[in-house]
Each structure stands twice: as C-alpha cells, then as structure tokens.
Amino acid sequence: MITRRIFIAGTMVAALAGTPSFAQDVVKIGLVLPMTGPFASTGRQVEAGVRAYMALHGDTAGGKKIEVVLRDDAGTADQTRRIAQELVVNEGVSMLMGFGLTPLAMSVAPVLNQAKIPAIITSATTSAIMKQSEYFVRTSMAGPQSAVPVATWAVENGLKRVVTLVTDYGPGHDIEKGFTDQFKKEGGEIVEAVRVPLQNPDFAPFLQRVRDAKPDAIFVFVPSGVGSVFMKQFADRGLADAGIKLIATGDVTDDDLLNAIGDPALDVITGHFYSANHDSPENKAYVEQVKKAANNMRPNFMSVGGYDAMHLAYAALEKTGGDTDGTKLVEAMKGMEWTSPRGPISIDPATRDIVQDIYIRKVEKVGDELYNVEFATYEKIKDPFAAQ
C-alpha cells in the first residue's frame, strides 16, 4: 500500500514540478529545519546563517528574487518528508535546504528523485545520505571529515595509545571508523573503542573505564548538547590530572555552548571545519551580522552550513542565469568553489559533497570569552568513505 501511495504522490510531484516556471520572477527555497524539539538549536543556528547571508548579500540572484519558506519538522523524519512534499507541490519551491539529522535527510530522497529538485544539506553529516539521491548537495560536513585530521595530528604529536568514545548512532560510527582507520594507518594503537548510548544520562562508568585503561588520550565524539555534560564530567573525574589528553571533533566544543561549559573546556584540542574565531574578513562580517540579528548569539558550525547553502543556491542561480530547472541547478553546483566564513571550500563534482579545510583548534580565553583558536590546518579534506 505504501508503495502505491508514494507512487501517486510522486507522480503528482513530478507532474507539478514539470510545469515550466520560467515566467516567474520569484524563486522559492524551502528551508526545512527542526525549529522545535530536542534539536531546535540546530534549526535556530542554520536559520540565523541563512538570514545572515540574505542580509549581507541581498535577496536577488540570477535576476530572480529569492524567497525563503521556513518550515519546522520538529526533528521527526515522517514530518520532514511530508513538509518537503508540500513545499514542492503546493509552494512550488525550486530548491530544498536544511535537514538537521541523517534520517531526516534520508526521508526526502524519494521526493527529490521524483521531483528532480536539488536539496542542499546544511547539517546532517553521515556518508550514506549522498548515495540516496543525485539531487543532494552538501555544505555541512562530509562523513567523518573532521575526525581524520585529528588522528593524523594525534600521532604527529606523540599520542600513540588512544581510547575512542563515540555516541552509538550513525554519525558516531562514521566518526569512529574514520578516526580509527586513519589512526592505525599512521601507526597508532586503539586501546579500546567505547560506544555510549544516545540516551545516556551519566558518563561516569564510561569515563572510569577510560581512566583505568590509562591511554595517552581519549578521542571523543558526542552530539554537541551532550558534549557539554561530557566535558564537565571529564574534568570532574580528574582524567586530565591522570595525564589523559582530550581530543575530539568540534561538536564537543560547540561555539554556541562553549562559554557555558566554562573552564573545564580550556586546552581541549579539537578538529573541525569552523570556529567563530576564524581570522578572515568574511568571518568577521558574518559573526557580526549573526550577533546583530539573533540576539547576540554566537554562530556555530551548524549556522555556517546554512550560510554556505545560501551562497551555493545564489551562485548556482547566477550560473544558470536564473533557470530553475533542478538538474541544471545541480550541475551548476558541482565543482563550485568559494571562500566561506570557515575558509576556502568547494563542492566535489563527483560526489556533490563538500571539500574543505579542517582546522586543529585549542580552547583558549580570548578576552573574557572562550574560543576555539585554530593553530594548524589540514587542507582540502574529502569524505574518506566516498572513495570506498
């Protein structure tokens, strides 16, 4: 029954999307984000990034006026799919954007395939998404992109025995594998691989286990909100005093939460693609705009994904001269290169995935506030799983 329903809906989508839209002067972009529910902070950050781009670069591209239609999917996949369908059929959007989590992005793949409309992923990161549709393009992060350079850096800096601790879900597995593969290739030893449940109230037993294993360092990936709880318990348990270094992907020291975590975060080494502290004129303008528009909120790596998604949409429209045909837009996006607030990035023509520099950063006090201060760069990192 479901297949039939999907078929009917799909044909409707295709029929409506097929009607020529050359005459219109407005290009609508459907932005689907979790604005409520447990992942609301992702939604708010991405929206701030999108709005900041429009505030800084106007609302016309390729001779068309851009209109963003924001919808809330509350972080549940069936809603994401329904909303995406509605946006395509009723609102006549030419592009979709957003998608906070892997399952949410996955759920819209059939809609894209049938409507032939590009979707720019601003947040979800697992490698598996991109294979689901030829119409996915990504501006957040490609799989375990941020973990690989951390492994290289760790070995280069004498951290040979490492325990990995990741949250037990898709992105966690990706990151664990990405880190472990690279780390072993460089000659490091994984003492133990710990996975913690997604709904984990207390890190105490896992941290005690890590402490007793006495590694040189612990490599951590947990979703950004949980990261703050983790950091505090890490400090409380005295792992740092026991000589165990904390290395992580930048999710743990999320710019949005860093000041709230406070001093326990100091000196933590992370690898990531964006820091609000990144030293470039693009980033200064961007951070200033977001703070001005969003009640002094500091943009994090989620919001820069939204900003770059808008840039990609604008640039693609410029390239097609305002033509909103989905396939042409995706073609236009392939191979696109530009300087984002995070640094130089490009879209891999083969995988439609982002290629970007990964920075190794250390948490330091800048003025009264804590920032991830970048001190090393690994250039042009691709999704390590895409080649396999």
Binding site: T36, G37, S41, Q199, V229, K232, R237
Partner: protein, 286 residues
C-alpha cells in the same frame, strides 16, 4: 572497583530522590502521575535561572527548587489534579502525559531547546582519593544529602501524626474524614512534598544528568522502573530499588559497555519475574 560502587550509589541516590515523589503519589495517593518528570525539570530550571541570571549560590538554589516546585505542585493539585483522583487510571495517564507535552513546549518556548549548564561552587568540583578509592566531591554531596533525606522521609511517614493521617486517608478516605482528618489538605500537602522532592532531584541532577526540555520524557522510564521494581507500599522499596538499579547500571556500563544500556532493563525484568509486585509489595495491595 570501589569507585564504581561509589558512583553507582550516588547515581542510585539521585534516581531515588527523583522518583520517590512518584512512588508517593502512585503508592499512597493511587494517582498515576506521569508528569512527575516535569516537576523535576521545573526544579532544574529554577536552579539554572537563579544561578545563571541572578548569581545566587547553589546551596540556596536547592531549597528554592524544593519549595517553588512544591508550590507549583499545590497549585496544580488544587486546580487540576484533584478533579482526577476519582477518575480511571487511563484518564490520569492521558491527563498527565498531556501535561508533560505542555511543559516541554513551554520550556522550549521560554528557555530554548539547548542544554542548560550550571557551574558548581569550587568545593564541590573535582575528586579526591580516599584509601585508593577515587571519590567525586559532588557525588559524595549527593549521597550524604539523599541519605539524610531518606531517613527524614521514612521517619515522617511512619512516626509523625501527619504520616499516620496520610496513611489513614489513603486506606479509607471516608472513615478518615469521619474521624476529623482533613483528607483534601493531607493530599495536597503530600502532593506538594512529592513534587518538591522531584524539584530537588532535578536541581541536584542538572550537573550529572544534563537538563533540556526533553528531560521529563527522557527520564520517565527510569522513574517508572524504580517505582515498579521497588513497589509502592513504602519508601524503603523504591530506595532499595533505586540503589540496585543505579549500581547495576553503572557497573554494567563499566564492565560490559556493549550491553551497558540494557542492564537496567534486564534487572527490572528479573525482579518482576521473581516478585511481580515489586521488591516490597503490600499484601493485598490496591
């Protein structure tokens, strides 16, 4: 090894404070209050607001969390809950779960969906070694506080006039009323006590369990397990159950991290097979 035991006890104690209010309303007042976690969340947010916005000391936040949440409890009891005392359990469940969703949406609206963090006073941070056993200061604080609370609670329910009035009111409301006990006031106070304890638990738990708008749903299952395993006839039952589950959970996650998350459910199933009414069931319980 002993560190794990210590962490387990601390975790169990925290679970107990969070859940014992539920065992009071469920066991003594026979009301299925799934919104219990919402009161715990209220306590947590009161602490966060007081500490982060007004810079009030953590030690003052704890009693404040207790009393303010108790006050909210009384208000809701007087206006909403008491209408449902006589209703079927299904109505109570539907009502209270609705309350949970409303509280989640309200907190999300006013406070935002992100994790809330507090910084403990310096003397509660870190850990020290005691004959080779690593002891977290904050966890020790929780254990001492909760142990004192448990003793006080047990004495209050068994030794005081209020305790016997409450038990009388529960056993047979009509006779109790006939004897001149103001049953509705007794229930209101009991409900306030239960929600206040939840608020205190939420305040204590902010540092260890984290706090976001989904707190009531995330921990509902833990509260329910504690109450089911412990039985609802006394304070001792949930107390032993919470300790057992806390230690089993922490030890399980330490020794077999792969299966760690399931240990707590395994223990629950075992106990319920052996003693279907919980560890300490009341004979011919209601």
């Amino acid at each position: 090894m002993l560190t794990i035991l210590f962490d387990g006890i601390a975790y169990g104690m925290l679970l107990f404070v969070l859940a014992c209010g539920l065992s009071i309303t469920l066991g003594l007042m026979n009301f299925v209050n799934l919104a219990h976690g919402a009161f715990a969340m209220a306590g947590g947010y009161i602490t966060v607001i007081m500490m982060n916005r007004y810079g009030i000391s953590f030690y003052w936040c704890l009693p404040a969390a207790f009393f303010v949440t108790a006050l909210i409890g009384v208000l809701l009891e007087r206006t909403l809950y008491r209408r449902l005392y006589k209703s079927s359990h299904l109505d109570q469940v539907l009502f209270s779960i609705g309350l949970v969703f409303m509280s989640i949406a309200a907190v999300d609206y006013f406070m935002g969906g992100q994790q809330q963090l507090i910084s403990l006073p310096p003397e509660l941070r870190g850990r020290f070694d005691f004959f080779g056993v690593g002891i977290g200061r904050y966890r020790l604080f929780i254990i001492v506080l909760c142990a004192a609370l448990t003793v006080a609670l047990q004495l209050a329910l068994t030794r005081t006039r209020f305790g016997s009035q409450l038990r009388a009111a529960v056993d047979d409301g009509r006779v109790a009323r006939g004897l001149g006990i103001n049953v509705s006031v007794v229930f209101a106070l009991t409900f306030a006590l239960g929600s206040g304890l939840a608020g205190l638990g939420g305040a204590l738990g902010t540092e260890i369990l984290g706090l976001d708008p989904n707190f009531p749903l995330k921990f509902l299952i833990y509260f329910m397990i504690v109450v089911t395993v412990g039985g609802t006839s006394s304070i001792t039952g949930p107390f032993v159950a919470a300790l057992l589950l806390g230690i089993a959970d922490v030890a399980g996650k330490y020794y077999v991290p792969q299966a760690g998350a399931f240990i707590i459910y395994g223990v629950m199933i075992m106990v319920l097979i052996l003693r279907p009414h919980g560890l300490f069931a009341r004979e011919g319980g209601r």
